[in-house]
Symmetry: C2
Subunit: 338 residues, 2 copies
Amino acid sequence: MAKRIGRYTIKMENYPAIIGYAAVCGKKEAEGPLGHYFDYTFDDSMLGETSWEKAESRLQTESVIRALNKSGVSKEDVDFIFAGDLLNQYISSTFGLRSLSIPFLGQFGACSTMAQTLALSSIMVETGVAKHCIAVTSSHFCAAERQFRFPLEYGGQRTPTAQWTVTGSGAAVLGKDGKSPFISAVTVGKIVDLGVKDANNMGAAMAPAAAATISDFFNDTKTEPSDYDLILTGDLGEVGSKLLNELLIKENIDISSKHSDCGILIFDKKSQDVHAGGSGCGCSASVLCSAILNKLSSKKINNILFIATGALMSPTSSQQGESIPSIAHLVNIKSSIK
Amino acid sequence: MAKRIGRYTIKMENYPAIIGYAAVCGKKEAEGPLGHYFDYTFDDSMLGETSWEKAESRLQTESVIRALNKSGVSKEDVDFIFAGDLLNQYISSTFGLRSLSIPFLGQFGACSTMAQTLALSSIMVETGVAKHCIAVTSSHFCAAERQFRFPLEYGGQRTPTAQWTVTGSGAAVLGKDGKSPFISAVTVGKIVDLGVKDANNMGAAMAPAAAATISDFFNDTKTEPSDYDLILTGDLGEVGSKLLNELLIKENIDISSKHSDCGILIFDKKSQDVHAGGSGCGCSASVLCSAILNKLSSKKINNILFIATGALMSPTSSQQGESIPSIAHLVNIKSSIK
């Protein structure tokens, strides 16, 4: 049975398994370094729908149905679906998943949502409250740009610190019996706000939250970076990743040889013009639910920390002069349990 | 330990207790029939802040601090805070709670959020994953109007089916040891969408979701309306409440003699000009965390069903011609456990 170790970390004893997972993405993501790992990619940013928002809903439908098919679990055997996205009132999740008739628990963590949905899903399966849960998130470049920034038609110039919202969705089905990989522990983050106000530099706003959660996890578990094969942040991008490493060095934690970031992995910096990297809920979700879980399943890597980070601001809060509160949730995933 | 009964319901065996609760509201709510039950009411709709959004954040801060004080639990002893609201990207919750440094799990269920946060908090305490959790939501009339409808200055005419968003917040602290009341069971709802498109008639959109969850709960638990002292819906208002009763009668479930609705209770229909009643996350949260939990604590009532309902649409989805998917979560609360 799950037990708390230290102040913030929940250690699994039954090791919930990821029994199916899938990622679907857009054309730009297909052209990136991880393109061949995704289950399906769409050439058309509308996915045949009549709006970008409806297209994003479709991304969630597609990733969930593919993950369910791969898991062999029917939707009638899923007890909860934990889902979220970036759009106002989560319309990607609610419209994308309404036809499934699975008990629905909407989650809000901005780009940290994939770790949050995985954490809650794994706790539910670990404790026997659920037999199966689904964790899913998405984002869509065009829908996010017009909601958070400018109309695409305006053609606004992007700053060097800006990140490119990934068009994609990742979904994972969790259950108590599976071969690999397994959830070993989770750390739920606290809101951290060091006063960063630049909404075009989310990486800088989110790095302190990632540092706090990683530090809490190492304190709680009495482990260190060398115990892990990979320490994978969600979407800090180039700027935030550098800051994260600097912040942790001040606490005598050196993750540099183990650290990677989904926002850096998903696009090719030289050829794809994404400035500081990828971002959006769909970024860490699609990277995790493709290349990374593949490597864990095939035991090419064995023990990772997945830390998705979220910037908890809105255009309204920024317009009112507020800083950007951030959060990071951590999930420790292992290829095998001994 | 929590166990599933039937398809959708989780029955508690350790009976998590509500060990502290508080509600804070605005001036109109203070003037309503429940005004004297609230812990504090503010005469100024800005609460001394510089925007309505910041005022709503302050409502959450105030309700949580008051609930913590009444519980005797320090914030350092709270393992998770489950919070949500109606504003885009949940800025009432994130900004209102960022200074607390409590592990934060943002929840999205529109006006069903109070039941959702209570359900997840109680599962965490029941299973021992958390010692203490906080469930909190809020809404603010002025912030909601300008985000979802029209600028207040425009003075738009409201339809007879429209509801009035409550300015208020309710918070509950859950723990394993308490005197009364206790969480006895929870049912997590599925998304229901019967095609209602009128965003000025949320009650009609949400009634089918409430009917589905109530029906699922009675099926799962093999109980009936007469087993409960009160069946309290969140904010269906006049129109939705009538529809709920009609929908359940078709399933041979007659709740009419037990049913009440937070949206009807909070305002005086004759003198307060709220049309079909109150609404908003803060409506069911503030009614539950004042008059209702008082009556359970003092054993004036002993066994209730609290069913908060949410309309999962956004202005964008309505503008794109979509219908309104809805959801309802149920929490069974008892004054004593035998």
